[in-house]
């Protein structure tokens, strides 16, 4: 990273050393046109600034936009000149909603943001609440959280493999990616009760202990996956068509990525090795062995390969979690936060009242503000919570990596072909539920 910094200094000394805007060569390729104006031009049957170009909408209901992302494109023939991503079609006011839910209910809300990797939002939320409460989470809960989130990362990247393959015409990949992901979801269902939107990781620990025989289930998964990943290599990585489609497409530099606040695989594809699991270890990531996968060219192929290899790293972490899983409590034994065990409720009136109070009033969280971040499959997922001492967050903000990564699209697509735009969009892997919240 330092190399690129000094390089950049040497290249542009002339003017404007202030700020990072000048690091973006495609800053003028961001279309700044309102949606209303765009709608008007549809009737006029024209036009960008010259007669050469044409304005076109891609989405919000285009299959390869992964949900409801709309791209406003200015095309010159088949070349994308300028573009503007339009988000918000899936906005459901979850940050406002969070202010009306207690800290215990909050998990059900945040888990619906990134519906492909819901456990990460739950984790970020729980870490922030725990930081405000200043409670300790038992060791087993931490390891369970790591195990579950890493499995979730694998599932999320498998979904990326599937959709990325399908977007580029490798339709069989869709089936394979889905097939493997299904196995993981089955384990999630067994553990959390649901395939997605688990509300499993909660302030103070996790909702339930791992089910009997979980080791066999998890080890069966990690034994099955490597061979399947090798199949993907045969199917895609080495294929000339696949490589032609991805290599050199959607080039992105480290300076651009940093200036645009990009995180996750997009940032790592440019050669910046930033992974919160290593850089700012949360949970017990400092006790496991894994590598941060980094790319070189910042093209679509790097972004694909990084995710493929991150699955392999996650398998390593999962195996270590199984090995190191301690015995003990899976949630904090802090009567303030944790409801009493089911058995106690049967024999003690106070326990029943306590249980009732926790689930109706919620627990009070001391006032303060705190930001907690985790490395989600899409980048840095942060949760900023302000508490005024009540049982509901005064303000909860989630920094969704998809939301911020979508900003990169005009920069990556500028000057490329429209068909490559699909590859670029796919390689950015945005999840609109998290982007729009």
């Amino acid at each position: 990273m330092t190399i690129t910094e000094s390089d950049q200094e040497n290249i542009d000394q002339p003017e404007k050393p202030v700020g990072q805007l000048h690091l973006l060569p495609h800053r003028d390729n961001v279309l700044r046109m309102s949606e209303v104006r765009m709608a008007e031009t549809a009737n006029e049957r024209i036009v960008g600034e010259t007669d050469q170009t044409m304005l076109m909408n891609m989405g919000p209901a285009h299959p390869s936009t992964h949900g409801v992302l709309r791209l406003m494109l200015e095309l010159d023939g088949e070349t994308v000149v300028r573009s503007k991503p339009i988000v918000g079609y899936l906005h459901t006011g979850m940050e406002k909603q969070a202010e009306a839910l207690t800290f215990l209910q909050g998990g059900t809300n945040v888990t619906r943001m990134d519906y492909i990797s819901p456990l990460f939002t739950e984790l970020a939320f729980s870490l922030a609440v725990e930081e405000l409460l200043e409670i300790e989470v038992p060791d087993r809960a931490i390891w369970i959280r790591m195990l579950m989130t890493e499995l979730n990362r694998i599932a999320s990247h498998l979904l990326f493999m599937a959709t990325n393959g399908m977007d580029l015409g490798a339709v069989s990949m869709m089936l394979y990616g889905w097939r493997e992901r299904e196995q993981i979801l089955r384990f999630f269902e067994e553990t959390t009760g649901l395939r997605m939107n688990h509300n499993y990781i909660r302030p103070g620990g996790v909702a339930a202990d791992l089910p009997d025989g979980w080791q066999e289930d998890v080890l069966a998964l990690t034994a099955m996956l490597p061979a399947r990943l090798d199949e993907y290599d045969i199917l895609m990585t080495g294929q000339p068509i696949w490589r032609d489609r991805l290599q050199g497409v959607g080039l992105f530099t480290a300076d651009e990525a940093i200036a645009l606040s990009t995180t996750g695989p997009i940032l790592r594809s440019t050669g910046v090795a930033r992974d919160l699991r290593r850089d700012e270890p949360y949970l017990n990531y400092d006790q496991v062995d894994f590598d941060v996968v980094v790319g070189t060219f910042g093209d679509c192929f790097d972004r694909y390969a990084i995710r493929l290899n991150e699955i392999r790293e996650s398998i390593r972490i999962v195996n270590q979690c199984v090995e190191k899983m301690p015995k003990g409590d899976w949630r904090a034994i802090d009567a303030k936060v944790t409801p009493p065990p089911r058995v106690r409720i049967d024999e003690s009136m106070e326990a029943l009242i306590h249980h009732f109070k926790i689930f109706t009033e919620g627990f009070k969280v001391p006032e303060g503000e705190v930001y907690a971040a985790v490395e989600s499959p899409r980048g840095e997922l942060g949760c900023y919570i302000v508490s005024d001492g009540g049982s509901k967050p005064y303000r909860m903000h989630v920094r969704g990596p998809s939301f911020i990564n979508i900003q990169t699209l005009p920069h990556m697509m500028a000057g490329g072909l429209l068909a490559d735009g699909v590859a670029i969009l796919s390689s950015a892997d945005p999840i609109m539920g998290e982007s729009d919240r």
Partner: protein, 191 residues
């Protein structure tokens, strides 16, 4: 950028906000410093928002991780602001990260409801584009010199700013079947 007073290890991060009324207040980048659960927070006056960000960028904080706002209209607790900062209704919060030192800083500034406008960081941190648009959309704060300050999550024709505390949540009134008739054909909610 000039006031890089080496605030070294003498301040243990464990001391809480109450105990930091030490003789001279801690400063960094020309801002007052406070700690919230061990996380370092800088407080800057609004007119220095841009210059503080500039100083942070020059110091290696190259990424603006997050930028958001809080509306403190109905805040019941005690706002832990250092001496010399007058609380206002809105607060803009930004988080910056330094990759080489693996450090992060949170910067907060007060924005009054009478003058709900603040400098945009777009030139320094182009990644703040979407975040500032979101704050504009949700809180109605405007950003000076932002290239395209328009609504991002809500439709363009939307009125009001949903995350303001005086913006009602809104609800659909529930009508129970048979509330007009008093005969007890069944309680509970009609569907």
């Amino acid at each position: 950028m000039t006031t890089d007073e080496t605030q070294d290890t003498e301040d243990t991060e464990t001391d809480d906000t109450e105990t930091n009324d030490a003789p001279s207040p801690e400063m960094a980048f020309g801002c007052l410093v406070s700690y919230s659960r061990g996380q370092k927070v800088l407080h800057t006056p609004k007119d220095q928002w841009f210059s503080v960000a500039e100083a942070l960028l020059a110091d290696g904080y190259r990424m603006c991780i997050d930028l958001t706002a809080v509306d403190y209209l109905t805040y019941k607790g005690h706002r832990s602001l250092p001496e010399g900062i007058t609380p206002q209704r809105f607060e803009v919060v930004a988080i910056f990260a330094n990759f080489t030192t693996r450090d992060r800083l949170r910067v907060r500034t007060q924005v009054s409801v009478d003058e709900p406008t603040i400098d945009s960081l777009y030139v320094l941190y182009p990644g703040s584009d979407f975040m500032e648009r979101e704050v504009f959309d949700m809180f109605g704060l405007t950003f000076h010199r932002h290239p395209d300050l328009s609504r991002i999550l809500m439709p363009e024709s939307w009125e009001g700013h949903p995350l303001r505390k005086d913006y009602a949540i809104g609800s659909i009134p529930v009508q129970f079947k048979g509330t007009a008739t008093t005969n007890s054909t069944g309680g509970g909610g009609g569907s």
